[in-house]
């Protein structure tokens, strides 16, 4: 896949120079070779720092929420998964469509910096592709004002819900043992919430002290309620960008719960792909059918 950074820099420079956007959000090379952290630029001459290498894996769309009232227009680069996050934020009406100039980048898969470090690799080719990219369904952006680069073949192979089915096959106690061993590791650092495009409330229920719906105490019970509540709030809205599971420092398989919810919603209320079409149909739990399955009579 040819390196689009040249075109990216040119376009960013033009957008800033003609004042079409107030700032650009992209990626730049970090201090270490396997880091391409997010980059925020407001001046045209800084655009030559933009890159789109193997490690430009961070989704940038949640940064739009920080300036949702600023009235600024932002030029933002989005991969396929990022663009679904953007649709999520737009559908939830957290930012206006015209406050964003979207530059789409078809993506053939990125690599996770932590994996680069832990695998002891010395250069990018020795680093395995990131887990979330192995299951990628939408490598091409679903929303954009302009696209740089040709479309890419989706490389998701195998059953999307394979891991979910593996857990479903366990007995109740085995399932509970599996999940409690994962959730007891949780540090409550809230990184999974802060990186999630579906977690875009102005004031999160967990941050409110009156009523304090979740104790700050780190114990298994509260950790489970935190993760179940967050998964439930994202139910039918999660765009499967995989960032939550990727940023978790403790390696908790957060996506396995989100994927289970997607599987159940498809099964109960009909197939639905969150964040793919920017239209007015509300997500599954935000609507109903009188013909929904009935088990409560």
């Amino acid at each position: 896949m040819s390196d689009p950074s040249g075109e990216m820099r040119e376009l960013a420079k033009k957008l800033l120079e003609n004042g079409e956007v107030d700032r650009i959000i992209g990626w730049e090379k970090g201090n270490l070779w396997y880091q391409s952290p997010p980059l925020f630029i407001t001046r045209a001459e800084e655009t030559d720092r933009l890159v789109f290498d193997d490690f430009a894996i961070n989704s940038l769309v949640t940064y739009l929420l920080d300036e949702r009232d600023s009235g600024k227009k932002t030029g933002i680069f989005v991969k396929g998964c990022d663009s679904r996050g953007l649709v999520r934020i737009l559908q939830d009406k957290q930012i206006a469509r015209e406050s964003v100039y979207v530059i789409g980048l078809p993506c053939s898969g990125k690599k996770d910096p932590r994996q680069a470090l832990s695998s002891g690799a010395s250069e990018s080719s020795q680093v395995p592709p990131a887990a979330k990219c192995e299951e990628c369904l939408y490598p091409n952006p679903v929303i954009y004002d302009v696209i740089i680069g040709e479309a890419v073949e989706a490389k998701a192979k195998g059953d999307r819900f394979a891991a979910v089915k593996e857990i479903e096959a366990k007995t109740a106690d085995e399932k509970y043992a599996y999940w409690t061993s994962q959730y007891s590791k949780c540090l409550r650092c809230l990184a999974c919430r802060n990186v999630c495009p579906a977690c875009n409330c102005r004031e999160c229920a967990f941050d409110i002290s009156k009523p304090r719906i979740l104790a700050k105490e780190n114990n298994l019970s509260h950790n489970m309620v935190y993760h179940l509540t967050r998964a439930f709030h994202a139910a039918g809205r999660c765009v499967e960008c995989g960032e939550c599971e990727r940023v978790c420092p403790m390696g908790i398989p957060i996506m396995q719960l989100n994927k289970k919810i997607i599987k159940e919603i498809n099964d109960l209320f009909g197939p639905y792909e969150a964040g793919v079409k920017l239209d007015e149909t509300p997500p599954p739990l935000g609507t109903y059918q009188t013909s929904d399955p009935e088990e409560f009579m």
Binding site: G30, N31, L32, Q35, S36, P37, P38, L39, F40, N58, T62, Y63, D66, P113, R114, L117, S181, Q182, K185, L187, R188, C189, L190, A191, R193, N194, V195, D207, S209, R212, A215, K216, E217, N218, N219, R246, V247, P249, M250, G251
Partner: protein, 336 residues
């Protein structure tokens, strides 16, 4: 210098944990390297550089009961929690984490008030440090005044000499402990290994004095936007000591007050009841964290609050790199 053969390690651990002492060693549990209680047959991760979760947990746990209460119409009965006074040995702690514990000692044991819960644990804890022969790509202790091979403040110092562990007692308590494992020790001709080369090096001299006058510097505007405002960096940092105090009901009339780790990067950290927040956005919060690490703590306790362990550089999802920040600060020219 004396030595212990590596194949005797299990027997040494057996002896150390005999007599009911809690022996904490680095282990990998569910994919997370942390310090955990050693039992016979447990696989240690001594060679794996510093653990993801620092040994701070052993002295300053994430949750800790301060007191139980029982309310009635007449009175509030308060029963203070007794601190755990269990003999603890932390073996395999790296010099950067030993230095971090010295920072915690400054916080909890000095300046007009002594935190009894911390003090009781600290008094019953022995530190057996393991020197680092090969720093990890994200380690930078030498850049902030640390020595990878010498942990001043530990009770015993260990070095990996290949077939044997060289060791040396640094405190009286350390000497007493060595007597316990005397039968495994032999005179060792080995000498302290040379330190490996650091791939991450910055010059942090004078950083506190310089940052003192950079509160309004534009550097902060360039650094804060990419921060997610999550708590990863603070919860895996060996020197972070901020805590919150919260109430917990165990019944309608009884419960307990506990303290738990808190992160200055969280939005509600300094939010006051009336709604005023002196650090309302990520900019003020990131500034406060970097300044606390590299300036305020130095001004208050005379040591930096960053020991160069590299955990935040390794784990930050957006590559917030404190060494790059130190480098950029050294390049800023203050035109006073």
């Amino acid at each position: 210098m004396q030595g212990i053969a590596k194949q005797d390690l299990n027997k040494v651990l057996e002896t150390l944990s005999g007599g009911g002492a809690a022996l904490l060693v680095p282990m990998e549990i569910d994919g997370v390297t942390r310090f955990a209680r050693w039992e016979q047959g447990a696989k240690t991760a001594l060679g794996a550089g510093n653990t993801l979760l620092p040994p701070k947990e052993a002295l300053f746990p994430q949750n800790e009961k301060v007191f139980n209460y029982e309310m009635s119409n007449e009175e509030a009965k308060i029963v203070p929690s007794a601190a755990a006074a269990e003999e603890t040995i932390i073996l395999g702690i790296r010099p950067c984490d030993v230095r971090a514990i010295q920072a915690l000692d400054n916080v909890f044991l000095t300046k007009d008030y002594v935190d009894e819960l911390y003090k009781t644990r600290r008094r019953h804890t022995l530190l057996i440090a393991l020197g680092c022969t090969q720093p990890a790509p994200t380690c930078f202790c030498s850049s902030v005044g640390g020595d990878p091979l010498q942990a001043e403040g530990a009770d015993i110092m260990l070095w990996d000499l290949g077939e044997t562990y060289g060791l040396e007692a640094l405190s009286d308590k350390g000497k007493d402990l060595l007597k316990k494992i005397d039968k495994f020790m032999s005179k060792s001709r080995g000498k302290k290994p040379a330190a490996g080369k650091f791939s991450l090096e910055v010059d942090s001299r004078g950083i506190a004095e310089k940052l003192h006058n950079m509160f309004e510097d534009p550097i902060w505007d360039r650094w804060y936007q990419k921060c997610l405002g999550c708590g990863i960096c603070t919860f895996i940092c060996p020197t972070c000591h901020c805590f919150d105090m919260q109430e917990k009901h165990t019944g309608q009339w009884d419960g307990y007050r506990y303290r738990c780790w808190d992160s200055c990067m969280f939005q509600e950290y300094s939010l006051m009841a009336g709604g005023h927040n002196p650090r309302p956005t990520k900019k003020e919060r990131l500034r406060n964290r970097f300044l606390h690490k590299l300036c305020f703590f130095q001004e208050r306790y005379g040591m930096l609050l960053c020991t160069g362990c590299g955990r935040c550089v390794r784990e930050c999802p957006v590559g917030m790199d404190i060494t790059k920040f130190i480098k950029e600060v050294s390049e800023v020219s203050l035109n006073e």
